[in-house]
């Protein structure tokens, strides 16, 4: 199991590196971040045992990630719309 995850992470790293050779324009950051988030999720779920932890632990982690999301989303609501006017 851990090996499977390990190889998945290696493979995803390889994907990131490969993609970095292509210029996708605005998608550059989007693709890189999507892969990174996916990898982080794998690490948290398996290497950090979140999948097998108690419901309470899962709720706590979800809340933390959720709050990070709030912070980023509402902050971006400023940065992304500044140029509209």
């Amino acid at each position: 199991m851990y090996f499977a995850i390990f190889f998945a992470l290696i493979a995803l790293t390889a994907v990131t590196v490969t993609i970095s050779f292509f210029d996708l324009g605005r998608l550059n950051a989007v693709v890189a971040l999507t892969i990174a988030v996916f990898k982080a999720t794998l690490v948290i779920l398996y290497f950090m045992h979140l999948r097998y932890s108690s419901r309470l632990t899962q709720v706590v982690v979800a809340a933390g990630v959720g709050w990070l999301f709030i912070m980023i989303a509402l902050t971006l609501s400023d940065y992304l719309t500044r140029s509209w006017l």
């Binding site: 809340a63 933390g64 709050w67 709030i70 912070m71 509402l74 902050t75 609501s77 400023d78 940065y79 992304l80 719309t81 500044r82 509209w84 006017l85």
Partner: protein, 532 residues
């Protein structure tokens, strides 16, 4: 008659400094916090005194502009981080939550003690900053001033706040686990006193929000010391980002200050109307709603900062939404009075003070949350009046009300009712005389944070300074008679009001382990019927 055996309780079970400094008893830790924050309150108050003296005349004659900047900064830092945030949770919350839920202690007693040490360590850094020359950025530490231009003790103050934040996180964590795990048999969630619900909501904010201010202060320090570009445009940063991060914590932090105070008021209103709080469930959920929505409105502090208008519209709308649960509470307390048998003892006077002043503070918050009006009012005395109505008129009123209400439980003695009523009256009058004129001044355009002002503002400023001296008397008076009462006050019974709640079912002061035997709860919160 049986000769009276002196009963052992948490205060007389052991004596000496060591027995206090190494205690893990939540009640004693609450009192340790009481001593610390009272000290910091008077330090912060001393700064306020000089500020009000300076503002008695239009000229900047008492202190220089630079000194004035330091005074209002240190006033704000002391009062917010070292008094208001810990006031209700760390003192009353620590003392009462285990008692109210029928537990022997909090879930992590040693962590609890640690939090007090961390708190004081942080305070030491900040006090070092104060005595070695002060800091002048405002309690808000806005960049680029704080990172690039200010040559005062920004770092030491920042480190102090960084450290103190951990005590807040630990307290919050402790309360969450305690409320989840330590409730007595039968004490289900909807039998909890509303004080406990309010603290649960507060703890959520402390745990989810405080790390953000810690990181923000850290980034500020990095930029100040090694000039990495986070906030400075010249280095590729963005100064408004600081305001986003700062207020992501600091708006919710205003609810850290006011939610527990609302919890106190719920207890007081129930006890002195002898009724269950109208709409218990709604008030309980309103606390949680405030905690969650409180995180979505920070941008209302950035309306004139260069924040996008569209973001401003979102934040303005959400700020109106957060007023709803606050209003729910005010209406429910008021509805509780209806047909209640209201008695006007000191704690209830403070509760009335809270309800009225918080309402004014909250409503003026809505003025400020309107983007157009805020352009006129921002950075004026109107804002200063707004938040003092909530934090001083609201939180400190509730804190004093709670301190009086639970004083018999804490000390085993009654406070002198006559003096206490007089004190409550002085606080109320002094408070309004100090801060109401500031609404008018702000509306007329007097900016905040200046040590001099045009002649025509003098009358209102003199009123404000006069009010401040009355308010000071109102704060010193309770300190004097509460200390006096520890020795000379009449002995309190276990339930002097009489009120519901498990804390009143054990003796006053309670034994170290709180209850002779763990209570089994078979009744609802605030069930006054049948108790007579």
């Amino acid at each position: 008659m049986i000769p009276k055996q002196p009963r052992t309780h948490y205060l007389n079970i052991s004596y000496g400094f060591k027995s206090w400094l190494f205690t893990t008893d939540h009640k004693r830790i609450g009192l340790l916090y009481l001593v610390s924050i009272t000290l910091f309150f008077f330090v912060g108050g001393a700064f306020a005194t000089i500020i009000r003296l300076e503002l008695a005349t239009p000229q900047g004659d008492l202190v220089q502009a630079e000194t004035y900047n330091k005074l209002f900064t240190m006033h704000g830092v002391m009062m917010i981080f070292f008094f208001l945030i810990p006031a209700v949770p760390a003192v009353l919350g620590n003392f009462l939550i285990p008692l109210m839920i029928g537990a022997k202690d909090v879930a992590f007693p040693r962590l609890n003690l640690l939090s007090w040490y961390i708190f004081n360590l942080g305070a030491l850094f900040t006090i070092y900053a104060v005595v070695s020359g002060g800091v002048d950025t405002g309690w808000t530490f806005y960049t680029p001033y704080s990172t690039t231009y200010s040559n005062t003790h920004v770092l030491a103050t920042g480190v102090g706040i960084f450290i103190t934040g951990f005590s807040s996180i630990l307290t919050g964590l402790n309360f969450i686990v305690t409320i989840h795990m330590m409730r007595a048999p039968g004490m289900n969630w909807f039998r909890l006193p509303l004080f406990v619900w309010a603290h649960y909501a507060t703890s959520l904010i402390q745990v989810l929000g405080t790390p953000v201010i810690a990181i923000t202060v850290l980034l500020l320090a990095f930029e100040r010391v090694v000039r990495i570009g986070i906030f400075d445009p010249a280095l590729g940063g963005d100064p408004v980002l600081f305001q986003h991060l700062f207020w992501f914590y600091s708006h919710p932090a205003v609810y850290i200050m006011v939610l527990p105070a609302m919890g106190v008021v719920s207890e007081l209103v129930a006890a002195f109307t002898r009724k269950s709080i109208f709409g218990y469930d709604l008030v309980a959920f309103a606390s949680i709603a405030i905690a969650v929505f409180g995180f979505l409105v920070w941008g209302h502090h950035l309306f004139v900062s260069g924040q996008s208008v569209y973001a401003g519209m979102i934040f303005s709308f959400l700020s109106y939404a957060v007023a709803i649960p606050s209003a729910v509470k005010v209406f429910n307390w008021t509805a509780t009075l209806y047909k209640g048998s209201v008695s006007y003892q000191t704690p209830m006077l403070y509760a009335f003070g809270f309800i009225g002043l918080f309402t004014i503070g909250g409503l003026t918050g809505l003025f400020l949350a309107a983007m157009g009006l805020d352009i006129h009012l921002t950075d004026t005395y109107f804002v200063v009046a707004h938040f003092h109505y909530i934090m001083v008129g609201g939180t400190i009123m509730a804190y004093l009300g709670g301190l009086h209400y639970w004083w018999p439980k804490i000390s085993g003695r009654m406070y002198p009712e006559g003096w206490a009523k007089l004190g409550a009256l002085i606080v109320f009058v002094g408070f309004n005389l100090t801060f109401f004129p500031q609404f008018l001044l702000g509306y007329m355009g007097m900016p905040r944070r200046y040590h001099a002002y045009p002649e025509e503002f003098q009358v209102l400023n003199v009123m404000s300074s006069a009010g401040a001296s009355i308010l000071a008397v109102g704060y010193i008076l309770p300190m004097v008679y509460l200390i006096w009462s520890m020795r000379y006050g009449p002995i309190a019974s276990s339930n002097p009001w009489p009120a519901t709640g498990l804390e009143w079912q054990t003796s006053s002061p309670p034994p170290t382990e709180n209850f002779e035997e763990i209570p089994v709860v078979t009744w609802e919160a605030y069930e006054f019927a049948g108790q007579e």
